[in-house]
Amino acid sequence: MAPPTRHRPSQAPTPLRVTRRTLTARTPASPEPDVSPPATAPRAARWTALRGRSWSVPTALAAIAVLLGGLAVWFAISAQHLRGTASAANTALTDNATTSAVNGQVAGAVNTIFSYDYSDLDKTQRAADGLLVGTAVCQYDALFRVVKQQAPQQHLVVTVSVTNSGVEALTGDRARVLVFATQSSTSAITKVTSTAGAMFAVDAVRQHGSWKIENIDTFTGDQNGSACT
C-alpha cells in the first residue's frame, strides 16, 4: 500500500509505521464491529422489533393514512365552508357584466310594461308579452285590468322610469332586483301631472340570453302572490 521508495528495505519499521499497518490490517476485522454497532445496532434493533410484530408496519402506515385523511377532510370542509356559502353562490356585482345586463334589462322591462297611453293600451300589453313569464304574467294581467278600466276614463298617460335598481342576488340564470321607480301620470283632460315613487323587487330569469320578469314583489305579503300562484 505505502510507496516503497520512502522506506529502505533494510530499515527497520518505525513505530509509527507499525501502528499504521496494524490499524489498516485490523480495521475490517476487529475495530469495526466494536465501533459501528453503537450507531447501527439500535436502528437495526428497532427495525427488527418492528418487523417482529406482524401488524406494526401496516398499522403505522394506516395511522398515517388516517391522520392525513383527517387533514384532507378538514381542508375539504374548510374550503366548502368558504365556497359553499350563500355569499359565494351570489355573483351580484362580482360578475360585473351580468349584473349590469340584469340591471339594464330589468329597468328597461319595468319602464316598458308600466308605461302606457290610454289611447293605445294594446301597445303596452303587446310589449309586456315578451318581457314577462310565469307568475308575473298573471300579476300583470290583474294590474292591467284595472288600468284598462281607469285609463280611458281619465285619459291617462303614464310614464314609469326606474331611478335606482340594485341586483340583490344573481345565481346562474336567476336574479332578484330591487327597483325604485318614478311614476308620472298625466291626465289628458285636466293636464295635471302627478308623480309618485314606487318600490318593488323583481325576480328575473334569463331565457335565451335575455332577462325576463318572473315575479313582482310589492312587499305586501302573500296577498298578490296567492292569487297568481
Partner: protein, 184 residues
C-alpha cells in the same frame, strides 16, 4: 456479518408474507397524501379568492347598511338617549358629526313629540362596492311606523339610499337620504 444476514432473512420472509397488507396501507397513505394535498390547495385557493372576498364584503356591507338604516329610523322617546347613541355608533364621517352636533336639539324635539318610531327593512341591495377604497352604496326599502302616545300609528314606506364607509370597526353609514321622486 453472518449474524446480520440471518436476522434479515427471516424478516424479508415475514415482510413478503404480509406484503398485501403493507401495500394496502401504503396505497392508503398515498391516497391520503394526494387528497390532503388537493383539498389543502383548494382550501388555500378559496381563502385567497378575490371574488369570494368581494362577495363577502358585499354581503357584509348590505347587512350593516340595512341594520344602520333600520337603527336610524328607530327611536323610542322613553329611551331617546340610548337610541341616539345607537345612531352615533352606526354612522361615521359627516353623518356621524351631524348626529352628534344635533343630538341635544333632537332630544328636546323627541321629548315633546313623545313618539315611538320603528322601522322594518323590506328589502335592500348593494348598488356599488369599491372594496379597495372601502366604499359601498346601498338602496333600502323600509317600512316606518310612528306611534304617538295617543292616536293611531302611522305607517309609511321610504325609499332610502345610503353610502357606507369601511372604518376600523367595520362598515358604517356615512350618508343616507330619501331617494327623490324625480320627474326624469
Amino acid at each position: 456479518m453472518p449474524e446480520t444476514t440471518e436476522s434479515v432473512e427471516p424478516a424479508t420472509g415475514a415482510r413478503r408474507a404480509r406484503n398485501p397488507l403493507t401495500l394496502l396501507a401504503l396505497v392508503l397513505v398515498v391516497a391520503a397524501v394526494l387528497s390532503a394535498g388537493w383539498f389543502g390547495w383548494s382550501w388555500y385557493r378559496a381563502a385567497h379568492d378575490d371574488a369570494l372576498a368581494y362577495s363577502q364584503a358585499r354581503d357584509e356591507a348590505l347587512r350593516v347598511g340595512e341594520q344602520a338604516i333600520q337603527n336610524l329610523n328607530t327611536l323610542d322617546y322613553r329611551k331617546a338617549q340610548q337610541g341616539i347613541r345607537i345612531w352615533e355608533d352606526s354612522t361615521t364621517g359627516d353623518l356621524h358629526d351631524q348626529l352628534v352636533s344635533g343630538s341635544a336639539a333632537f332630544l328636546g324635539q323627541i321629548a315633546q313629540a313623545k313618539t315611538v318610531t320603528t322601522a322594518k327593512v323590506l328589502d335592500g341591495a348593494v348598488t356599488e362596492l369599491d372594496e379597495r377604497a372601502g366604499k359601498a352604496s346601498v338602496i333600502v326599502a323600509v317600512d316606518i311606523t310612528v306611534t304617538p302616545t295617543t292616536g293611531q300609528p302611522t305607517d309609511k314606506r321610504e325609499r332610502l339610499s345610503g353610502q357606507l364607509t369601511r372604518t376600523g370597526s367595520g362598515w358604517k353609514l356615512s350618508a343616507v337620504g330619501q331617494v327623490p321622486v324625480s320627474a326624469s
